[in-house]
Symmetry: C2
Subunit: 81 residues, 2 copies
Amino acid sequence: MIFTAQVKVMPLKELLDPQGKAVMGGLANLGLNGIKDVRIGKNITLQVEADSADAAAQIAEEAAKKLLANQVMEMFEVEIK
Amino acid sequence: MIFTAQVKVMPLKELLDPQGKAVMGGLANLGLNGIKDVRIGKNITLQVEADSADAAAQIAEEAAKKLLANQVMEMFEVEIK
């Protein structure tokens, strides 16, 4: 069975996010002053072939740990849909 | 009041995602053969100052349309948390 797994990878809260800071500056230049903070991460959608949702979550988590996220600088969340 | 808006930006389904294809190759090389497709987009978290959740959603949507997403190649979804 094919499951859709969504992996969100975000920079850790303790770390600066220079890309987010740059986008925040751009938004302020466009007149969007209500935006006080921007953080940018990745959103990865995987199509996983597995016997159960739990098995699919395990495969997605392994993929995140081994390749998708750098756990020194990023945290990740896996969600099966 | 400060609302947290999450903007997901993904490449349109009709378009190739070469970054996703490269990651899928990497995952296969790591022995994760159960993963049949990978698509990579952005996950952007905004802290929005607004009077209501609806107003915050409107600001986040404007930000997505004006700067965060390229609607020729990408689709976006806004969620207020």
